[in-house]
């Protein structure tokens, strides 16, 4: 009886040891550097969708988000040898820093005003309801999307970085190059503004017959 018990315990232990442990991003980067492209593909699978969504919400344009997404990964590959996980967070923080810098560079090069106009046009283009979404819901969400786009860029960055990357506030502050207190202040203001807008929407909806 005791033999059976010890045997089952041993089996459990062996299964625990042999169970595939998900590798850290940094380990995958090392493997990719050592010439294993499959490790890079794993990294892409982990971060591709959330990064694309982050850029989509950050720049308010699908086309631009796609372009910046590609530029980000190109930059990652070009600078992979220089990536040092001990300096300023891990791979995810580095990836989002590159993406945020790409968006900032784009804004700087094209001029904020022009982009704002373009963004507004693109938002209005995207207002068409999508399959599976109710009309009321879509209208509300479109306004939310507009509200996100109307947030000051620094507040939008903190809010979206927190939501899509799930990085710690201290890492977000490092990415944005500002003190932790500033990043938290921006986050708080962004939440307040969005909540204000959403409550206005809710009030508006309840008063309409």
């Amino acid at each position: 009886m005791s033999d059976d018990r010890s045997l089952s315990m041993q089996r459990e232990l062996v299964s625990q040891i042999t169970a595939p442990v998900p590798q850290s991003d940094e380990a995958l980067v090392r493997r990719l550097r050592d010439g294993e492209p499959a490790a890079g593909e794993l990294l892409v699978k982990r971060h591709c969708t959330s990064l694309l969504r982050y850029l989509q919400r950050l720049v308010g344009s699908d086309h631009l988000a796609e372009e910046l997404h590609q530029q980000t990964w190109t930059s990652v590959l070009e600078n992979l040898e220089r990536f040092n996980p001990s300096l300023g967070g891990g791979f995810k923080a580095w990836l989002y820093r590159i993406a945020t810098n790409k968006a900032n560079d784009h804004w700087r090069s094209r001029g904020r005003e022009k982009i704002a106009k373009e963004g507004m046009r693109l938002i209005s283009d995207e207002l068409a309801p999508q399959a599976g979404a109710g009309l009321e819901n879509t209208e509300e969400l479109s306004k939310l999307r507009l509200a996100i786009d109307l947030l000051p860029a620094n507040q939008r960055q903190v809010l979206l970085l927190r939501y899509y990357s799930d990085l710690k506030f201290i890492e977000i502050a490092q990415i944005l190059g500002c003190p932790l207190n500033t990043a938290l202040g921006r986050m708080h203001k962004a939440i307040l503004r969005l909540r204000q807008l959403m409550s206005e929407e809710a009030r508006g909806a309840s008063t309409t017959p």
Partner: protein, 193 residues
């Protein structure tokens, strides 16, 4: 940690508390303050609610809007980029190795040139033996002189050489005289006879 100590207002501290990013000691302290202060408790609850609302709205927004690219398509595109990058990297590595091979003949060429110079010198040396200068012999002679003096001999080697030289000179002079007499008469002098 210094950044955390510098947190200025309640909102910042509460945001960090909600995110679970405060150090354990600070977390416990905030927890105690929230328990004892109803205003702070209300503030925390309001902030939590706002955050949940915004997160919920963003989640909903993502569920009804398509990403810029279908996930599989975007992933495939980046994976293709990685493969391309990897291929180029490997190619670059190979091209870095090729010049090394090309450098090898240059090294051999240099070695061959050095070897041929060395062989040439040896061959030349074999046909032209080195001429030893007479200078170094003088001290030897002096040393021999000393040895002979020690042995109590009055004539030294150098004297011997000088004598030999004198003898040679005398012999040469006599041969000259002999030649001279022959030349004058064409035959030996017989006047005494």
């Amino acid at each position: 940690m210094k950044d955390i100590q510098d947190l200025e207002n309640n909102e910042s501290i509460l945001l960090m508390y909600l995110a679970g990013e405060l150090p354990p000691q600070d977390h416990a302290e905030v927890e105690q303050m929230v328990m004892s202060d109803p205003n702070l408790r209300e503030q925390l609850s309001s902030l939590q609610q706002m955050q949940q609302q915004v997160n919920g709205a963003l989640k909903e927004l993502d569920s009804v809007t398509c990403p810029p690219l279908p996930a599989t398509f975007a992933e495939a595109e980046i994976c293709r980029m990685i493969q391309q990058w990897h291929g180029e990297r490997e190619r670059r590595k190979r091209t870095l190795i090729v010049p090394r091979r090309a450098v090898m003949p240059r090294i051999w060429l240099g070695l061959a040139a050095a070897a041929s110079i060395a062989i040439g010198y040896l061959v030349w040396g074999a046909y032209h033996p080195p001429i030893t200068p007479p200078g170094p012999r003088l001290p030897d002679i002096a040393a021999d002189d000393e040895k002979l003096n020690l042995m109590g001999l009055t004539m030294t080697v150098s004297d011997g050489i000088a004598d030999t030289e004198m003898q040679v000179a005398a012999a040469m002079a006599s041969s000259d005289d002999l030649d001279g007499s022959t030349d004058s008469g064409g035959h030996t002098d017989t006047s005494n006879q």
